[in-house]
Symmetry: C2
Subunit: 192 residues, 2 copies
DNA sequence: AGCTATATAGACAGGTCTGTATATTTAACG
DNA sequence: CGTTAAATATACAGACCTGTCTATATAGCT
């Protein structure tokens, strides 16, 4: 939409940013290349000059969002809490902040896994799976710092709470799911 | 595929059954009318003679599955347990049986809500929302029979566990998520 | 047997999608 | 100023989609 800079790589970033917003808001199958180029204010050939195909653009959308999301989570957790135990619970406080955004439309990674459920060979499908693995690893690290008895097991339980909260919040459009999950997680930690 | 009976309504049921299987397996957007009629072994005009549009077929797919799913859940819960407390936990044992099916491809209702995320006015979208409300009401009824302090609140927590387990199992293709959720639910009930 | 309702195959209209081709204009730079 | 590289608008190919139309065939029923 904005006249993009002519600096090297700026147009590409602009297209990626516009596409990412559309993909998250409307779903990757509902957004066509024509819509992306129109919204980005570039010619179609410019798009295909920067991206080999729409599938690879979607993959990059997911990989970028993975990096952004996990960085956001870690940063927010460290901002909200200091002790390991409080940090583990702060995961759900972070979610609460996220759900507060009226533009929240569910978990982009779960959404892509669902939309691409019939083509798991799609590069974005694999990228989304890897994202969930990375988040699990991060949570497990937090729980190891807490010193719980079985970090891998509890991490999987936390991950289930996280996915449940993401889906619930996407459906209800409210922030309540974060509080529900946080209460449950608190009880799991108290049990230790 | 099978030559359908000529009894009144049988062809319609056959088409609906074939379409439902395809919709669940591949997603509603990936399955076109041509594929449905080819797989069902009927002519395209026969399809449109029985269904006004694909959108309404999808709605019926969801409403039928809602009825089937909740009946399955209630039946299975009553088969697995008798006391209210055990029945509430048996929800997750039932899930375990479901996840055992290699054809499990995630929660059909969550999948449709995601696939239709950009057109919430779609009749199937509303039907899927109503399904989740009905399941919540059923769980709340079970917890009221248990006699917990705050049935609506605990029911929402159980629902979050259920959705989390459905999503996790769909992603991992294993049955473990049911056990994880069940353990958490057990702790929530012990707390009472 | 003959009438009627329905099922059939297949073409087709009008729209969408991804990706490519072409021909023109713009911008950078020596 | 003049050359070169990149962005532009536009058209198009080929595939797919939903829904309609037509003309033929089949089945049940009296």
């Amino acid at each position: 939409m904005k006249p993009h800079n002519t600096q090297k790589g700026t147009a590409r970033e602009h297209i990626l940013a516009v596409a990412s917003e559309l993909f998250y808001k409307q779903g990757i199958r509902s957004v066509g290349v024509d819509t992306i180029v129109a919204e980005a204010g570039v010619a179609k050939m410019s798009f295909y000059n920067h991206f080999k195909s729409k599938d690879l653009l979607v993959e990059e959308y997911i990989r970028r969002r993975d990096g952004w999301w996990r960085n956001w989570l870690q940063t927010t957790v460290e901002r909200l809490a200091t002790s390991p135990r409080e940090q583990a619970l702060a995961i759900f406080d972070a979610l609460g902040e996220r759900f507060n955004n009226p533009a929240y439309r569910g978990c982009a990674f779960i959404n892509v896994l669902t939309e691409l459920g019939n083509e798991p060979e799609h590069p974005a499908y694999q990228a989304a799976l890897e994202h969930k693995q990375q988040v699990l690893a991060y949570i497990q690290g937090l729980l190891e710092a807490v010193g719980v008895a079985d970090p891998p097991h509890l991490a999987r339980q936390f991950m289930l709470l996280l996915d449940g909260a993401l889906v619930t919040a996407g459906r209800e459009g409210t922030t309540e799911a974060a509080g529900l999950a946080r209460q449950i997680a608190t009880q799991l930690l108290e049990k230790e």
